[in-house]
Assembly symmetry: C2
């Protein structure tokens, strides 16, 4: 994507940015020394390690996430396993449906993700069409007509909306081939994205690594409801690694096979989800929306609207969903995301996960284009319903009705005396089969039973392998009963805000990266103090031993305050040492010089403005604390403490 600019208005240079984050070990490809060795035949693509500043930044983002969501809203945190028995993901639909479409290039033996193949080929044809000489070769006139170019644009705008056969048709119609070797590809086939293994010594029990943290939260629903003392609405939250076996990972941290997620499952009474207690706190926030209709018309024009208006006009379905969109926005901006590079995009119908009935993504603009960083899906009652049905466990909320109501319904009763002896080991399955019959089925079976004297009911496979059970009049009765209901029972709906921490971290790093006009070789990361890996750099003016005691004292004082600091006592110039730490995003710097030894005064430097103030250690430490805990801005500190412009501190 051309045209992304940094905060200083200069063109964003991805090579320079990447050089910084790799050189300073924010992150790096995993197993690099193996990948570079001659005999390696494995695959390390889509796997990344975070180095010291990356780990600290990630820990700080997660910590703030915990504060902003879990603590602030009293959510119930869970830590569930990534290893998941196959049965669970079979029920949830992931075994059958969690797949991408892939094309094999038989000539190269390569596998390509179908939608990415189409995107890259059409984008490169369009690029040539717009700017024929750009690839450095002799300019050839574009072979695309304007009409075809417009068609390509439209395909790209709704690329997420095509299913496998449709992608195959596009590949045929537009003669799309593997850019690597120009080979024709086979028709798209589904590829399940979960990593599979087996558990236990017999190797008979298949498991998958979870593709999301959500399932563990759904399965613990009853325990959570207990913990909440039965009162709705409530939310659980999990922070943990998930795994997706991407077909051909690319774009660095943006498409990886192992990643940290933070997910919230907000369980709500479907009757009251239209309202949210704290909606008024966010309703006036204006968000840049990109709705479904705009996308289907092949456009990407944003519609800025307050959350209140968005819910009122039905663009956003309900207050609960609107509330979370607002909270997501506040979180992202707080950790340093550039709000001019943020939009909320509604999913297209075919793009949604199999469990979702509506979904809005928070997308961040990067040099790779707009990237989905947070998904906010309405999963309705899908997951609780399917797990409940599969396990025979009621995953429902019961609450007293204001007035008791009389209900008339069909009920099947099995003869306790006969059912055990007759069905032996199958008894439980027969009971489950009968219990799962709905009102409509019971009504017609009641007639059948009266007519024929027996009925057939389908069941899980029995000992003899059959999947139907014959039940005669002596063992089953089906009658219409009246009963008074005093409690209401319902399956909650679930709103799920789901955060990809690695994508947020990467996009944030792009957003805060820039370089000073006078020093294009070195970048600056303007990370907010809240999430910066190290808060304070301590630099002694020289390596003279007389400065050491003051350095040690200050470092230990900051450590006691749990403010992370770093001492650079190397012999490089002060300016160079500060520049090195600007690259790490360290927001504050303290210089210890010979005057410190005399009068105890020290200087405090702010990263972005490079301005400095000088005062007593007491004053400076106090200022550092208040800047870091957010109670004071640098501007306020610079107003009240004396500015310092001593030459020794210059860049």
């Amino acid at each position: 994507m051309a045209g992304v600019t940094d905060r200083a208005g200069a063109a964003f240079s991805r090579p320079m940015f990447e050089s910084l984050v790799k050189r300073r070990f924010f992150f790096a490809e995993s197993f690099e020394i193996y990948r570079l060795s001659p005999n390696f035949t494995g695959d390390n693509r889509g796997l990344f390690d975070y180095g010291p500043p990356g780990s600290a930044l990630q820990a700080n983002i997660v910590n703030e996430w915990r504060n902003h969501f879990i603590i602030e809203e009293n959510m119930m945190e869970l830590d569930c396993t990534a290893i998941t028995p196959e049965a669970v993901l079979k029920t949830s639909g992931h075994v059958d449906k969690f797949a991408d479409w892939m094309c094999k290039d038989p000539a190269k033996g390569e596998y390509l993700r179908a939608d990415h193949l189409i995107e890259s080929v059409l984008e490169s044809r369009l690029a040539k069409h717009r700017n024929p000489g750009a690839d450095g070769q002799k300019a050839k006139p574009s072979t695309l007509s304007d009409a075809v170019a417009a068609e390509y644009e439209e395909i790209l705008a709704k690329i997420d909306n095509y299913d496998g056969p449709e992608l195959g048709e596009l590949i045929n119609r537009h003669d799309i081939r593997n850019p690597d070797g120009n080979g024709e590809v086979l028709p798209p086939a589904p590829f399940n994205l979960m990593f599979k293994s087996t558990i236990g010594p017999s190797a008979a029990a298949p498991i998958y690594l979870r593709p999301e943290t959500a399932q563990g939260q759904f399965l613990n629903f009853r325990k959570l409801l207990d913990y909440a003392q039965g009162s709705m609405a409530f939310a659980s939250a999990s922070i943990g690694k998930s795994y997706r076996n991407e077909i051909s990972p690319r774009s660095g941290l943006l498409r990886v096979r192992e990643f940290l997620m933070a997910e919230i499952e907000h369980f709500v009474d479907p009757k009251t989800s239209k309202k949210h207690d704290r909606f008024s706190e966010v309703s006036s926030i204006e968000l840049p929306f990109l709705d479904r209709e705009t996308q289907l018309s092949g456009k990407t024009t944003l519609k800025p609207l307050s959350i209140g208006e968005a819910v009122q006009t039905g663009l956003v379905d309900n207050e609960t969903l609107g509330y979370f969109l607002g909270r997501i926005y506040l979180f992202l901006v707080k950790i340093g995301v550039d709000e001019k590079k943020l939009r909320f995009r509604q999913h297209l119908a075919n793009e949604m996960a199999h469990y979702a009935c509506d979904c809005w993504d928070a997308e961040l603009l990067t040099s790779y284009g707009w990237i989905e960083c947070v998904g906010c899906a309405d999963r309705s009652a899908y997951d609780l319903t399917v797990h409940s049905k599969q396990t025979g466990t009621a995953l429902v909320v019961k609450e007293p009705l204001p007035e008791p109501i009389e209900i008339e319904e069909w009920q099947a009763t099995l003869s306790k005396k006969l059912v055990g002896p007759r069905f032996k080991k199958d008894t439980k399955k027969v009971e489950t089969a009968v219990a799962s019959l709905d009102q409509q089925a019971l009504e017609s079976l009641a007639n059948e039973l009266a007519e024929k004297g027996f009925i057939s009911v389908s069941s899980e496979p029995l000992v003899d392998g059959s999947t139907t059970v014959e039940l005669s009049k002596d063992i089953i009765s089906i009658t219409k009963l009246k009963r008074v209901e005093r409690t209401r029972e319902y399956t909650p709906n679930v709103i799920e805000p789901s955060f990809g921490i690695g994508r947020i971290l990467y996009s944030l790093l792009e957003h805060v990266y820039w370089h000073r006009p006078q020093d294009t070789a070195r970048g600056v990361l303007s990370l907010p103090a809240l999430v910066a890996p190290t808060k304070v750099l301590i630099v002694p003016l020289s390596t003279h031993p007389s400065l050491q005691p003051a350095v040690k004292k200050l470092a230990s004082r900051l450590r006691a305050l749990r403010i992370s600091s770093n001492v650079d006592a190397s012999s490089s110039s002060i300016g160079k040492r500060y520049a090195r730490n600007d690259e790490l995003g360290t927001p504050l710097g303290i210089t210890i010089d010979f005057d410190t030894v005399k009068d105890g005064s020290i200087t405090l430097r702010e990263r972005d403005s490079m301005a400095q103030v000088r005062s007593s250690e007491e004053d400076i430490v106090q200022a550092v604390r208040s800047i870091i805990d957010g109670s004071e801005t640098w501007e306020a500190v610079a107003q009240r403490l004396p500015l310092f412009t001593g030459q020794s501190q210059g860049e």
Copy 2:
């Protein structure tokens, strides 16, 4: 294990303890509703989910670990992937050696871990011998002679020291059978404990889930050394999930298949590891040691010794290892471990992991016996050496020598002009093969080359499948050369403290669990404020609306201070509400009553003593802060603020 007592001196009741931790959702088995459903054929053993208080406790332990080790010692944190290509774990030895011995019972189709089978059978025979009527059946005279009983005791004391064939011999000699059905078992066979899968769409690239976080740290060694600006010693640290496919998990959280680890890799110059800069800070701490010799003599007597003496007498090999044992001790005691239930046990020779040359475990006493919770291993230069050799990447430290030294050594030179054209695609492998020859090999090959005019060198498989290369005089020369060396090059040794967070958390919960003499039905968890899931319980005396504003104001004030609190505004009695939170380990409670509305005063209650003080909100919040940050004890607060004994606050 009989005889474990709680902190009040009463016998520890595991059923009551387990009932508390499950009821209050500290943790629970994963996928329980599936395991309980009739059709489930999967395996969820050894998988556990942490509920809200367990997740918070775990997060607090991890946070303190980060402070105590990473921040305090300026370690470099890394976050590496769990997915690991096979090649890496092949090199590290895990593919071939990371296995337990397992016996199949063909009658039952069950798999049993061989050492656990022997332990449980011998222990139950010994129990009958000691106390013949204990199993509730009619007392039969024990059939064991005292000599056999003594032999059993000795086997049990060194059970970790037997290899597979030895375990097989013990099973035969003592006729050990599967307690479930009394079937004979097949001889022990090794079972690799790693979960295996494949990555990418072709399914051609095998991967494992990491069994430890260490490998990622070793593979990043060069980047870490760069980040440390080349200066030794330094340490990296990782906190993350690891995976072991245990044969038959038991003992709840103590033997699981997915677990959180915190591991430090301390890289040190082998020449200077005998010394550690900060050793004096821990040298006077006395630790309870259980050394190798004592165990081999069949005993478990502890040897209390200061760390200084332990290093001086050679019991602990060096200061670096001793320093970490001291730091581990301080950490465990700080988070609330009972120091009377803590020992440091040296590994037996056969028990050590394949990479270790010495290892001490911090073990905690629980109702399951002594449990390894922290391992502190000396991995020497094992891992860096094998990865370096396998990948051809130098994983070494280079440092300037004080004086240059002259070195005479054999050197092989390949003719650049000839080697490429002759070996084509094999060139890189031939170069690697020659480069890996050591001095001894070069000396004898030099003679051979002079005699025969050609030599054979073994190599990785070449294009034609052969594993030797013939090199003639024209293409290779081997000569003795003098050179002056100005830098020293060495592979660091690694000391590895490795923490099993789940085992620590479980043992800690057992250590802090007790119940008040007057209320045996409800337990108390005396967790230190530092790690307690919630710090403050806020209880309005009644549900009267006039108390609500003070509750809200206090809750939001604590939230702003990032002190986690919980409001219990239910209609239960104050005493019951406090008792419920004693079960969660909440150390402090604040009551809002009708006097609060009048004069703003509130009461503060301490969990263990149940004593209360009363003062202004300002005073109480200040006291809460200082108790939580550790700057003041409850006893000091109770001295300076007025005690409160109002009846409405009683239990």
